[in-house]
Symmetry: C2
Subunit: 332 residues, 2 copies
């Protein structure tokens, strides 16, 4: 392999993301310098946060530069090494971007694998999405047994873990997802107590019926009407882990209409970015790995085939078309 | 005195509060039972929270019952006592309601006075408004020297204390108030670094100019456009003490349009009710009294004369017509 493929940001979205915002390129595999490793990426993770990076609006992170490899988490295998800490054949997770190959000095690589867990899991339940769920649930929601929690995008990589952690804690877990198939999965496979199909048109009434004792904690992935419905059900001293507002990624306003509930119910709300809490990752990932090994944590993936399929899969993710963690398989 | 006057809630507001929602009554002074004290209320406190109680919407507190004395904080003097803990002449603060006299078993009375501080101060800077400011500033905003804080309703009973505490801490304190007179007072008398007149029509631009380093903490008394403007200036990890949303007291929606900032800036927001944190009152009131005695805390009052003037003063308070802590003087 003297060349590999990558996808760069060709232009910033004017509203919704379109395929033309991306460009597939073939580039040469660079020579390794001393201390570097060459990794063949087996899987690319697609995540909503990437939409934020595509814009140049003020945000917590610098925007994705134009004409450079799109940012993204990857899991792969070392294929050449001039770094004594990594050997050919090692499984590694890192931020390889939308690309088939990655050169790294090892600083931000995490060795993974060695068990029966597939490499892609390190992009989901044992990676950033899993940690996002773990952090929000344990550090912000702090739900106790018997309390009711609501999580939006419940069938997704993050939401599915939030609900399962809540069930393990003895909470009533209510999901919100789009469509009957996802809701069936959330209840039947993941073990949530209930799941509301927001596309069915009775969001508020359905959520009220599913939360007869109100809502004590919310994990918010979506924003907009879904968040408002959950806020409308809060009990006193409810906690909100504000993780995502996918509903507004295209630049439109996503107002919180039920803002008054924040006051009347003395809500504790925190926005958070899990990569700012790296000190907790070892503990969180260890707990998640134990649960996974014990069969107490289920996950599901949507797998797109080949790097060229990434833009379409990403656009689908933003529209909620994926079902479970969205990854792109980069090898045959 | 065999009778006294009180004001009861005659009807719930349909939108804005109107004078007909109240009714002035003359009632007999009851005989004291063993353990009771009779208090002549010298001052009644008027506060925005009362508007919430007038409605029967779901809230943190039970609604004010119809045809009963309007709830309210009072400061007065014991005029008869069958309780060994209180003597005639004692200054006391309590929840005497919109009434000239009050019978109490002493359980919720706080002895006040004995210094040069006027009785009315125990309804403001040394009472619930002062404690509200103290709690929000110290327990939620946690502003450090050099940080910029924004407080709305800055000339009011709560906001004026928030800003002064911030200045004592070494923060940049920026107020938002309605009208040039109030803003001049906030800067010239209270010592804020700047004050934005939201009625001048350039709220966002003026606030941006006054907060060149962004905003690290917000004390929100108003909600609506004022809150959105402050949120729009937040720095990463900003804290919001959500104390009031006076803008929506008449039942209209007060959406948070800049909700996205809560996420992108990882904002920590807490709604709170100071009466749920009584364990901190002794510490807070003691600190405030020390500051007041040392001339480091200034306050201003709007004094309405006579109980019959209370409804009009209250309606004015909701419209921002008061200037400083609104009280009603109940004695000649």
């Amino acid at each position: 392999m003297s060349t590999y493929q990558r996808i760069v940001l060709a232009s910033r979205p004017a509203g919704a993301v379109v395929p033309d915002n991306f460009r597939l390129e073939t580039v040469p595999v660079p020579e390794l310098s001393e201390g570097q490793v060459l990794i063949q990426n087996h899987f690319l993770s697609l995540d909503p946060y990437m939409r934020g990076r595509m814009s140049d609006a003020k945000s917590y992170a610098a925007p994705q530069p134009l004409n450079e490899t799109m940012i993204g988490g990857t899991a792969g295998v070392v294929v050449a090494s001039r770094n004594p800490k990594f050997a050919v054949g090692d499984g590694v997770a890192g931020m390889g971007g939308w690309a088939e190959m990655m050169v790294s000095d090892g600083a931000l690589l995490r060795k993974v694998g060695g068990s029966k867990v597939p490499l892609s899991a390190y992009l989901g339940v044992l990676g950033m999405p899993g940690m996002t769920a773990w952090y929000g649930f344990n550090q912000i929601m702090k739900a106790k047994a018997g309390e009711t929690i609501v999580v939006s995008a419940a069938s997704g990589a993050v939401g599915s873990v939030v609900g399962q952690l809540a069930k393990l804690k003895g909470c009533r877990a209510v999901g919100i997802a789009g469509g009957k198939d996802k809701c069936d999965y959330v209840v039947d496979e993941l073990g949530f107590d209930a799941c509301i199909d927001y596309k069915a048109g009775n969001l508020e009434a359905d959520l009220a019926a599913a939360t007869p004792n109100g809502v004590d904690a919310i994990f918010e992935n979506v924003g907009g009407a879904v968040f408002d419905a959950a806020l409308g059900r809060t009990n006193a001293f409810a906690r909100v882990a504000l993780c995502g507002m996918i509903a507004g990624y295209n630049g439109e306003d996503v107002p919180i209409k039920n803002a008054r509930m924040l006051l009347t119910n003395r809500v504790h709300l925190e926005g958070f970015i899990v990569t700012e809490h790296m000190e907790l990752w070892p503990q969180g990932l260890s707990e998640l790995a134990t649960l996974l090994a014990g069969g107490k944590l289920k996950f599901r993936e949507s797998v797109a085939q080949g790097l060229a399929a990434a833009p379409e899969a990403f656009i689908g993710l933003l529209a909620g078309k994926n079902f479970g963690k969205q990854v792109v398989k980069l090898i045959k």
